[in-house]
């Protein structure tokens, strides 16, 4: 691991200011993804700004009947919150479908949003990777790509956004609140937070240099049935091949987002509008997909997973 200096930030604005003041600085919260990548020297920060002491670890109610989840709320605490379980069940379901108990106890809300892809070619520093080293090429394209993406990808990168939590946040229309180094705040809709890879797969989010996530807000509850269905190679502690986060109303209408297939949690308005017609909705959400031979199966798997979700919503299956 490369050497780094360390400081504990005193306030969110000071943390953001410190991040642009010190070259090569990064924030550290739970550290479960960052430290892993630092050991592999995929991440090589020269300075770490510890944001754990900033008091951003509360879940509070917003004026418009929603919830504000502090950036440092641990995944376990978020999933276990009574209001989240009652009104935003898809979020609890998504969080507990990911990682392990130990990791969820440490991982933060903001850090979960910022976790890096698990593409094996990104992790293997002997392989070319445009995300790890811009313009170095992509070994995944033409490589073993069963786990990799088919939407929001490009001829520079076919990595997926790996998380579960953000797929639920996408279906809930969450908003990411931040503070910039100049002290100004901004609110980024989750739909605009993660990017499509295009020509710059090393730029993964809408965050500007030094910009710090302070909270994620959820709009007022949607009602309906909250379902998160995750298909993976192991029953627990594995990343999704395909996942579907959905909120389905009694008449079968609703909304859904798909994980494990794209550069970001994937949701489209025409797919939502096609519900309860599963095949039309699945066709709409996978429209424009550019699969490899290895991951073409994910198109059918999206439809089957969505069919499972709809059956569960209608009480036809546990």
């Amino acid at each position: 691991m490369r050497e780094f200096t360390y400081e504990r930030a005193a306030s969110p604005a000071e943390a953001a200011a410190a991040a642009v003041r010190t070259q090569g600085a990064k924030f550290i919260a739970g550290g479960t993804n960052l430290i892993d990548l630092m050991k592999l020297e995929i991440e090589t920060p020269r300075h770490l700004i510890d944001v754990n002491g900033l008091g951003l670890d509360k879940i509070t109610e917003t004026d418009d009947g929603g919830l504000r989840i502090g950036a440092l709320v641990r995944n376990t605490a978020c999933a276990a919150d009574k209001r989240v379980r009652r009104d935003y069940g898809v979020l609890t379901r998504a969080i507990v479908a990911g990682a392990s108990g130990q990791l969820r106890n440490k991982a933060s809300t903001a850090g979960n949003l910022l976790q890096r892809t698990r593409c094996a070619y990104f992790y293997d520093t002997n392989m070319a990777c445009n995300k790890r080293k811009p313009e170095s090429g992509c070994s995944a394209i033409g490589g073993v790509s069963r786990q990799l993406g088919l939407l929001g990808v490009s001829d520079k990168c076919i990595a997926t956004y790996p998380g579960d939590m953000a797929v639920a946040l996408r279906v809930l229309d969450a908003v990411v609140e931040t503070v910039k180094p100049d002290g100004t705040a901004r609110a980024i809709p989750i739909a605009e937070f993660h990017r499509m890879w295009g020509d710059t797969p090393h730029i993964e989010t809408a965050l500007e240099p030094g910009e710090l996530i302070t909270a994620v807000t959820l709009p007022r509850p949607l009602g309906g049935k909250h379902i998160y269905r995750k298909v993976r190679d192991r029953r627990s502690y594995a990343f999704a091949l395909v996942s579907v986060a959905a909120v389905i109303q009694k008449d079968g209408t609703g909304r859904f987002a798909v994980g494990g297939v794209a550069s970001k949690p994937w949701r489209t308005a025409d797919a939502d509008a096609a519900l309860p017609n599963v095949s039309a909705a699945a066709r709409a959400v996978t429209s424009g997909a550019t699969p490899t031979e290895d991951n073409r199966f994910k198109i059918a798997l999206v439809e089957r997973t969505l069919a499972g979700v709809m059956a569960e919503a209608q009480g036809k299956e546990g």
Partner: protein, 168 residues
């Protein structure tokens, strides 16, 4: 950098490089070698310890981030002459073979039963608005971050069931 920790109830002060993980601090600085280094990447759970009441992977956290924290390792749970009920249950149910993953399994198992008691939801719960129960399937799901390559899983679940039953 200097760091002050409370490890198994005892105040400890160490001077560590910023890169030193909590795991290496426990093993190399404090000579508490019960906590094991397996994968060193948070995938195997051998390094599981309890920090401020919650189980974490000690390999994926820097010691400097734990100023003032309370850490419980396998040595703090119990020693051969004074076993923790979970340690005794692992022996009784043969919950290990080579033993390398065992300290992490036991720390994780103790914390898992606490998490169930505190009502932390899990992936296998049918109704997440209800309190979870310490069933076999719950324990298997919640222990998935602890790998045992000898495959002692069913005996570990039996040991946990016994301890959970004693508490009920």
């Amino acid at each position: 950098m200097p760091v002050n920790l409370i490890v198994n109830g005892k105040r400890e002060s160490v001077d560590v490089d910023t890169r030193t993980t909590l795991l290496d601090t426990l093993r190399e600085h404090l000579k508490l070698t019960g906590t094991k280094k397996g994968c060193d990447h948070g995938q195997c759970g051998a390094c599981t310890v309890v920090v401020n009441g919650e189980r974490i992977n000690s390999c994926l956290t820097f010691a400097v981030m734990h100023e003032g924290d309370e850490v419980t390792t396998i040595e703090g749970l119990g020693m051969p002459d004074n076993l923790h009920p979970m340690q005794a249950a692992f022996i009784k149910h043969d919950g290990y073979q080579c033993g390398y993953c065992t300290p992490g399994q036991i720390c994780s198992a103790v914390a898992t039963l606490e998490e169930i008691k505190r009502g932390i939801p899990s992936h296998v719960q049918e109704d997440i608005t209800q309190p979870p129960r310490a069933t076999n399937i719950e324990m298997r799901e919640r222990m998935s971050g602890n790998i045992c390559r000898c495959g002692a899983y069913s005996n570990i679940a039996d040991a946990m069931a016994e301890v959970a039953g004693e508490r009920a």
